[in-house]
């Protein structure tokens, strides 16, 4: 696979899967205002994934949706951190905080890329991520003395950027994610 496509897929898959996980909170977040705010973050992540897939799709001669849905689970390049289903708020926020820190560094590198398209898209994504970081910091300030949150940070920190293979969680997520799409032949419009 081409170098650039591989790089793009890594971030795209991270953002897609994280966005998918974050969207699980829509409707059941701790309170209504936060529900609305966190849902925007989830949508932005999926939106970033879409833009990245579109760029990769040009390189690979395919379409964004096909990259997002039609590869088997073991071909996704996402980190183990984003795959986990985290139905506890402290773990979700811990992941959010850790991911945003790591992602900020990654975006800085990409913004400096010689590839104008990659650098340009990275800059756009980075400008949206400002609000994600503010949101993450805001929650971290509030929760940093809570034992369960501190534990969650310790539990999840080792998984940041770790790409040693996928857990069963990704397969389960992928099956649900593709259950409607794959109920009809490839190429069917939805």
């Amino acid at each position: 696979m081409q170098e650039r496509a591989r790089l793009l897929l890594e971030i795209a898959d991270d953002e897609l899967i994280l966005g998918w996980r974050d969207s699980e909170w829509t409707g059941i977040a701790p309170f209504l205002e936060e529900d609305v705010a966190f849902s925007s973050i989830a949508q932005n992540e999926v939106g970033h994934a879409r833009a990245l897939y579109e760029l990769a799709a040009n390189d690979l001669g395919t379409m964004a949706d096909e990259l997002a849905f039609d590869r088997p689970p073991d071909e996704y390049c996402c980190s183990e951190l984003v795959e986990l289903r985290l139905p506890e708020w402290e773990r979700t926020i811990a992941r959010h905080v850790l991911y945003e820190q790591a992602d900020a560094q990654r975006l800085e590198r990409l913004k400096a890329s010689d590839d104008h398209e990659v650098a340009g898209l990275a800059a756009k994504i980075d400008r949206e991520e400002i609000y994600h970081r503010l949101h993450a910091e805001m929650w971290h300030e509030r929760l940093k003395d809570e034992p369960r949150y501190v534990e969650a940070l310790e539990e999840l920190r080792p998984l940041v950027g770790r790409r040693n293979g996928h857990s069963l969680e990704l397969t389960t997520l992928w099956e649900e994610m593709t259950s409607v799409r794959h109920s009809q032949p490839a190429g069917t419009k939805w």
């Binding site: 609305v36 925007s40 609000y131 805001m138 300030e141």
Partner: protein
């Protein structure tokens, strides 16, 4: 705490009361106001203020009908009619 949100739809327009959000401090209030009143690009600016900081004024006194400084204190129809009539007679008188 309740924060009132005022939004400006386009530059140059008045800020209008849009609603309120519940938040524990200004940081959260900012995040939530931004989301509830701006995620769709429907506002170019927001003013967010704690409800307790808003002064409410609802009683106004005008016991003696102070219409000297309002448009309704100047019913000119009759005077104008009289003045036009007088000018008309004067013009007729000149001929």
């Amino acid at each position: 705490m309740i924060y009132e949100v005022f939004r400006q739809e386009r530059k140059g327009q008045a800020f209008q009361h849009a609603g309120s959000v519940e938040a524990t401090d200004e940081r959260f209030a900012e995040a939530y106001a931004r989301e509830q009143y701006g995620r769709r690009g429907e506002s170019v600016a927001l003013w967010v203020v704690a409800r307790d900081s808003v002064m409410r004024i609802e009683e106004f006194v005008d016991e003696l009908n102070r219409n000297y400084h309002r448009v309704d204190g100047y019913p000119l129809k009759e005077k104008l009619k009289e003045a036009r009539a007088r000018a008309g007679k004067a013009a007729a008188g000149d001929r």
